[in-house]
């Protein structure tokens, strides 16, 4: 411990590999969710929401660019943001399984967004005080954006839940069907633990409690019920995905895969 504190620049190889994967998890969750939101452009229920979802997508893709660039530097193999975004296959993507779930109806998109916004607030707040100054700078910047994403998604959750019978039924259905993906958000594995021990990432257990409180309050305000079933332990952040990610990547990566090295 004391040597690590004395010479933080000289990370050992295992820690470097863990940091690479940890940063990819954050980057891929933002990238995949940003790509999903982009699918709404021209299709949202109202012009304001079309713009809103596109704005969220832009912020998320911007965060992903900063994180992917950093991940490439940590890896040190010469891969830049584009190589990491467009030239990896699904098992190499380490995003949360929740992020890759299809848009469904507007309620599904809002519930997915709300859960990830609430997760990102906890993670970025913790990372803003990270021992890794680059990650701390990215998190502090992203956090400001994530807070208004959350205002947007939690505001819509309340309006849909506490709205008409139709909107409430759809919001409840979305909560019920996406709930099973939430187990992964705060389940720490060896990479999370290693990052927390090094002072790089927040302790997930404390963050999980704050997240649970926030989610319970928001559901209550939206007159929606918290599902009784236990979330299933998905492993998107270990590269094990639902089939939806492959389809998303097929579209997102099509141009670079078909015309390798093509530039604007």
């Amino acid at each position: 411990m004391s040597t690590a504190a004395a010479a933080p620049a000289r990370r050992d190889r295992a820690l470097n590999e863990a940091l690479f994967r940890y940063v990819l998890r954050l980057a891929d969750t933002s990238l995949v969710l940003g790509q999903r939101l982009g699918e709404w452009i021209g299709h949202a229920p109202a012009l304001e929401e079309d713009l809103g979802l596109a704005n969220l997508a832009l912020d998320l893709i911007g965060q992903a660019r900063l994180l992917l660039t950093y991940a490439g530097e940590i890896e040190g193999q010469g891969r830049d943001e584009d190589a990491l975004a467009f030239l990896r296959d699904a098992p190499e993507f380490l995003n949360l399984t929740l992020a890759e779930q299809p848009n469904g109806d507007f309620a599904h998109t809002i519930v997915r967004q709300w859960l990830i916004d609430a997760w990102q607030i906890e993670v970025y707040e913790g990372l803003a005080g990270s021992a890794d100054t680059r990650l701390a700078a990215i998190a502090a910047k992203a956090l400001k954006e994530t807070r208004y994403h959350y205002r947007f998604s939690s505001g819509w959750l309340a309006r849909l839940g506490d709205g008409t019978a139709e909107s409430q039924a759809r919001a409840q259905q979305a909560v019920d069907s996406l709930w099973r993906f939430t187990g992964e958000l705060f389940t720490a594995d060896e990479i999370d633990e290693r990052m927390a021990a090094a002072g790089i990432a927040p302790q997930l257990a404390a963050a999980a409690e704050r997240f649970a409180r926030r989610v319970a309050e928001d559901l209550n305000q939206a007159t929606l019920a918290r599902p009784a079933h236990q979330p299933y332990p998905w492993h998107g952040k270990r590269g094990v995905h639902t089939e939806h990610l492959g389809h998303l990547l097929g579209e997102m990566q099509h141009l670079q895969r078909s015309y390798p090295g093509v530039r604007w």
Partner: protein, 163 residues
């Protein structure tokens, strides 16, 4: 003497940068926007210019970088180094008083003086000055703007987001 020459050169570069418009709100320069963090001559003798992005995903960031590069090159500072600065993150507090005045004259309601005080400061209609305004959407034509309408003159307008 060296210091005086150096600060004169830095002042000239600030003036060059004050003529680089923001591509999405061209009445504002990048200096008005508060995204130029520093201009200084380093020990290596080269000028270093630090620029910070507004929003992480702002599509104007690349355009701003190339316009700034071009302006520096044209002004004879081809060897100046353009650096990206992330920390501390940009907030609307960095928009200068001149920038705020230009925004309002252009018809965009400027952000509150400080992000902290945004709740106590109502958004004023840039057309008629009424404080009776209503937010239509937190998202507008660019990431940095929200969409409002004035209840007095009924004119819709953009508000520079307070973030």
């Amino acid at each position: 003497m060296r210091a005086a020459q150096s600060s004169a050169a830095e002042g000239e570069v600030w003036r060059v940068l004050a003529r680089v418009p923001d591509p999405e709100i061209p009445v504002l320069s990048i200096v008005d926007l508060g995204i130029v963090r520093y201009v200084h001559r380093a020990a290596d003798g080269r000028l270093h210019v630090g620029i910070t992005p507004t929003y992480t995903g702002c599509p104007a960031t690349a355009a701003i970088r190339s316009a700034t590069r071009a302006a520096l090159d044209e002004a004879g500072h081809g060897d100046a180094l353009l650096e990206e600065v992330l920390s501390p993150p940009w907030t609307s507090d960095w928009v200068t008083p001149e920038g705020r005045a230009k925004l309002e004259a252009f018809g965009i309601s400027p952000p509150a003086a400080t992000v902290q005080g945004r709740m106590s400061q109502p958004v004023r209609c840039p057309r008629c000055g009424s404080l009776a305004t209503e937010r239509i959407s937190e998202f507008g034509s660019t990431p940095c703007k929200a969409h409002y309408v004035c209840s007095a003159c009924r004119e819709p307008f953009d508000h520079f987001k307070c973030i």
